[in-house]
Amino acid sequence: MDCKEVSSRASLWLDGKLAAGESDFLRHLDVCRACAREVGELQTILTVLRDGRGRNTVSAPEGFAMRVMDRLQAERVPRFGRLPLRSLALAASFLFLLGMNSILVGRYLGEGSQVTLPSGPAAGSDQIMEIPPASLPDADEQPQISKPEVFIVPVKPAPRAEAKPQSKPLVEQPADVKHPTPERQRQVMVASLAAVTIPGPEVFVQQRRVTEGVLLKVAVTRLDEASRRLVEVAGRQGLDPVAVSEMLAADGRLIKVYRYEVPYLLSSRFVTEALNLNLGRVLDERHVTEDVSSEYGQKLEQYRQLAAKALDARGAEAEELYGAMNGLIRQLAGMHSTSRDKKAVTFWLES
């Protein structure tokens, strides 16, 4: 074996992969100082390189997973803006916006249906998986959940928290938010929360807040076609859906839910006209009356407690808190937006 061959085989030998010819290789090293030195140097370099492994281990930067999920979420759910995925309350708010409680949704999906909520710790069988609303019009045309005019009293963080000096004035978000610091994230979250105001308990809890609604479950053959016709007939009456959602049940049924809030005087006409469209077979028609006053009070209190905690929180804890607060705000807005002179008309279309 000559020097050239030794040089080309040193790498394999160092990895213990030079079974055949190893004795030749070693014999050459015994007699050739230059080659022995080179192989020794190589061995030392690799040892130092491997030794450095432990010391040079790093963790992913703070908020990394959140930024990845934000990007995926942005690609996927344009409907309600970019809600934080980890928002624990989001799932519940979804059901509320659809005007039904989770038990009813579970029943509608059918016995033993195994589906998954879009996020958060979901309870039992009433889980839904939200899927991207691919065939819906542009986000710009979508109804906003939070219509400013329906919010009465702006809610500041709970009084005990207000005294804290950390609540800095909000600054404009710079163009480069790709790698926001935790403090920046916090400010952005505070800013987005501040943009939504909800009525205080004194305005709301004292009065009974009753939501009346009609829920129609219709089996359709072509979901897109049925949805288009429904939206069209509603549009002719000047009605836009306040919430739209697509869901996929575990058995593969595709479900689309439209919630309209219709002035009482118009509601029965709207329902009749929609049914006259012969969208499909009506499986169920249900009238729902719900007093949400106490639930609203509870949620508001919950929100205030989170807000107080969030002022001191940092990093992942703060993210969790603001996520949960965002979800709660949307639930509260949803409860509030159904005013007493309107009726919730919800169409559950399934294919």
């Binding site: 370099i45 450095g52 040079n56 997973a65 909520l117 996020s119």
Partner: protein, 208 residues
């Protein structure tokens, strides 16, 4: 925490909650490799983010024949090899301060037993090694990082880079030789030399 295979199956049905758990489980493993390849922390984060975005889009293609982490590494190294961005430093400098919300602080280095001169020598050698790695062509750096730093076998590297075992052998051999040459050239300038029986330094260096 659910089993990885369970999470993967859910993510394949476009369940983002399950995928987020996978991101949390594997973010460090992916980021470390991204950092070793790309060097710069911001480039590394861009690369690592892109890895997870692609992984989500292509997760239906994952059939569980490899470990999920290895699959992510495969995406990482191939994305990096295909990126045109120039690469900087492959090893993290211990001198680089850590920026936190509380201000800037020194990176903590685990204390090693041994004489101070030996530590100093290790550190200098580390820096030289870093520069030497930097100077290597991307293909050679990738194979060195996978073998020496990530401890993948030849067979795994062949699969990660979609090339033959023979190619891995020759590429690794060339990369190591290139690294050795770069190192011996640089260490001589510093007065430190790499010897067959370990590290040594010249008398003049020791006194300074």
């Amino acid at each position: 925490m659910e089993a990885v295979s369970q999470l993967v199956r859910r993510a394949q049905k476009k369940d983002l909650v399950a995928f987020e758990q996978l991101v949390l489980l594997y973010q460090d493993r992916v980021y470390v490799l991204a950092r070793r390849l790309a060097g710069d922390p911001l480039d590394a984060e861009d690369l690592a983010q892109e890895v997870f975005i692609r992984a989500y889009r292509g997760i239906h293609a994952f059939r569980g024949e490899a470990d999920f982490g290895t699959w992510l590494h495969r995406i990482t190294v191939n994305l990096w090899l295909n990126s045109r961005r120039k690469t900087a430093v492959a090893v993290i400098s211990l001198d680089e301060p850590v920026v936190t919300t509380e201000g800037t602080m020194r990176r903590e280095v685990p204390t090693l037993d041994g004489e101070p001169e030996k530590l100093l020598l290790d550190k200098e050698l580390g820096e030289v090694l870093q520069q030497a790695l930097e100077g290597l062509p991307k293909e050679q750096r990738a194979v060195l990082v996978l073998r020496e730093l990530e401890d993948y076998t030849y067979e795994e590297i062949a699969s990660l880079l979609s090339c033959s075992l023979g190619t891995v052998r020759s590429r690794l051999s060339r990369a190591r030789e290139a690294l050795r040459k770069a190192m011996t050239g640089r260490t001589r300038e510093l007065g430190v030399h790499v010897a067959a029986d370990g590290l040594a330094c010249t008398a003049e260096k020791k006194e300074t």
